[in-house]
C-alpha cells in the first residue's frame, strides 16, 4: 500500500521486537521456549510496541505528514498490531 510506511514500521518493529525479545531471553533460561511469552505477555508486548512506534512518530514529527497522506493514527496502530500478530505467529510456528 504505502511503501514508506510499511518499510519504516517493519524496521521499527524489528528493532522493538528484537530488544523486547532480547530482554525476555536474558531473563529466562531455556532459549527457544522463553521466546514465547504467555498471552498476557504478548499483549503487553504489542501495546508497548504500538506506544513506542507512536512515540517515535511524534518525536520525528511525522504524524501530520502521514495524516496528510490519509493515514490515520488508528490505521497505523492497526497495521502495527497486525504486523505484530503475524510476527508472533511466525515465531510460535518456528519455535513450537
Amino acid at each position: 500500500m504505502d511503501a514508506i510506511v510499511i518499510r519504516v514500521l517493519v524496521l521499527w518493529l524489528f528493532l522493538h521486537a528484537a530488544t523486547s525479545y532480547g530482554a525476555q531471553t536474558m531473563m529466562e533460561s531455556d532459549l527457544p521456549q522463553s521466546l514465547i511469552a504467555n498471552p498476557v505477555g504478548t499483549l503487553f508486548l504489542i501495546v508497548v510496541i504500538v506506544l513506542a512506534v507512536r512515540l517515535e512518530m511524534g518525536r520525528r514529527s511525522e504524524i501530520v505528514f502521514l495524516a496528510n497522506l490519509g493515514h490515520s493514527s488508528r490505521k497505523i496502530a492497526l497495521v502495527v498490531v497486525a504486523e505484530c500478530l503475524v510476527l508472533e505467529a511466525g515465531l510460535r510456528a518456528a519455535v513450537g
Binding site: D2, V64, F65, L69
Partner: protein, 240 residues
C-alpha cells in the same frame, strides 16, 4: 458569506476553550476553490487554533465543518486528506529525520507522481533533494512543504504562516506559488502577519479578533475598513 456560492471548506460557529480560557467563540472561516483566503489577526487571536480545527487535527467544543457541502462529523485530518484536503502546520509539515526526496516519494506513492518534477523546479529545491530536512533552514523547509503542496495539488490547502522567517524576495516567490495553486483550482486558506504581501495575493480577508471572526471581503474592502486598519494594520500602513 455569499449565498449560492459553493464553498470548498467551511468551518462555522466554532468554539474552543483550553481549560478555562475561551480561545474561540463562534468563529468561522471558509475557502473557495480558485481563491486565496487569508486569516489576519494579532498574535494569540486564535488563527492557528481555527485552522487546526478546520484541518481535523484539533477537536472543537462546538461548531460544524463541511467539505464541499458534506458535513464532516468526527473528522480527522487523515479522513479529510482522503477527500482532498492538505494541511501545512505553523511548525512544519516535513519530518526532520528523512530526506526531502523521501517525502516526495511517499507523496507519489499515495497520490501519483504527476506534477512532482514540476513542483521541484517551481520551488527551486533540486539541490535540497538528498538532504535531510533536519539540515534545512526554516525557509527551505517551507519551500519543501510548498513543493509537496504543489505536487499534491489538493482541493483545499490550509497553510499556517507560510511566510514567516522568509526573506522579502522569498516571501514574494512563495506567495506567488500560493497564487498559482489557487489559479489551478485549489481553495487556499492561509494566515500570517506579512500583511502587505498577503493582501496582495488574497481574494478574501478574514479578521480574527477576540475569539471571533469578521469577514472583511476583498483586500480593497479590508483596507477600507477603518477599525481593521486602526486595530490591526496600524496607522503607519499605507496602500498596497
Amino acid at each position: 458569506m455569499t449565498p449560492g456560492t459553493e464553498y470548498a471548506l467551511r468551518a462555522e460557529g466554532i468554539g474552543k476553550s483550553f481549560g478555562r480560557v475561551e480561545v474561540l467563540k463562534s468563529a468561522s472561516m471558509w475557502g473557495e476553490s480558485g481563491k486565496v483566503t487569508t486569516l489576519l489577526g494579532r498574535n494569540g487571536a486564535g488563527k492557528t487554533t481555527l485552522m487546526k480545527i478546520a484541518a481535523g487535527v484539533l477537536r472543537a467544543d462546538y461548531g460544524v465543518i463541511s467539505l464541499f457541502g458534506d458535513v464532516k462529523e468526527h473528522h480527522s485530518l487523515a479522513r479529510l486528506a482522503r477527500s482532498g484536503l492538505m494541511y501545512v502546520p505553523q511548525a512544519q509539515l516535513v519530518s526532520p529525520a528523512y530526506r526531502v526526496r523521501d517525502h516526495l516519494k511517499a507523496l507519489a506513492t499515495t497520490f501519483g507522481s504527476a506534477g512532482i518534477d514540476e513542483a521541484i523546479s517551481e520551488m527551486g529545491i533540486e539541490a535540497l533533494l538528498d538532504q535531510t530536512v533536519r539540515s534545512l533552514s526554516g525557509g527551505e523547509r517551507m519551500r519543501v512543504s510548498l513543493a509537496l503542496a504543489l505536487a499534491r495539488a489538493p482541493k483545499v490547502l490550509i497553510v499556517d504562516e507560510p511566510l514567516v522567517r522568509l526573506s522579502p524576495q522569498n516571501q514574494e516567490d512563495l506567495a506567488n506559488s500560493l497564487r498559482t495553486l489557487a489559479e489551478r483550482g485549489t481553495a487556499v486558506i492561509t494566515s500570517g502577519h506579512d500583511a502587505r504581501v498577503l493582501l496582495s495575493i488574497s481574494d478574501a480577508i478574514i479578521w480574527c479578533v477576540a475569539g471571533t471572526t469578521h469577514h472583511l471581503g476583498t483586500p480593497t474592502d479590508a483596507l477600507a475598513h477603518s477599525q481593521f486598519r486602526r486595530e490591526y494594520l496600524g496607522s503607519e500602513f499605507g496602500e498596497i
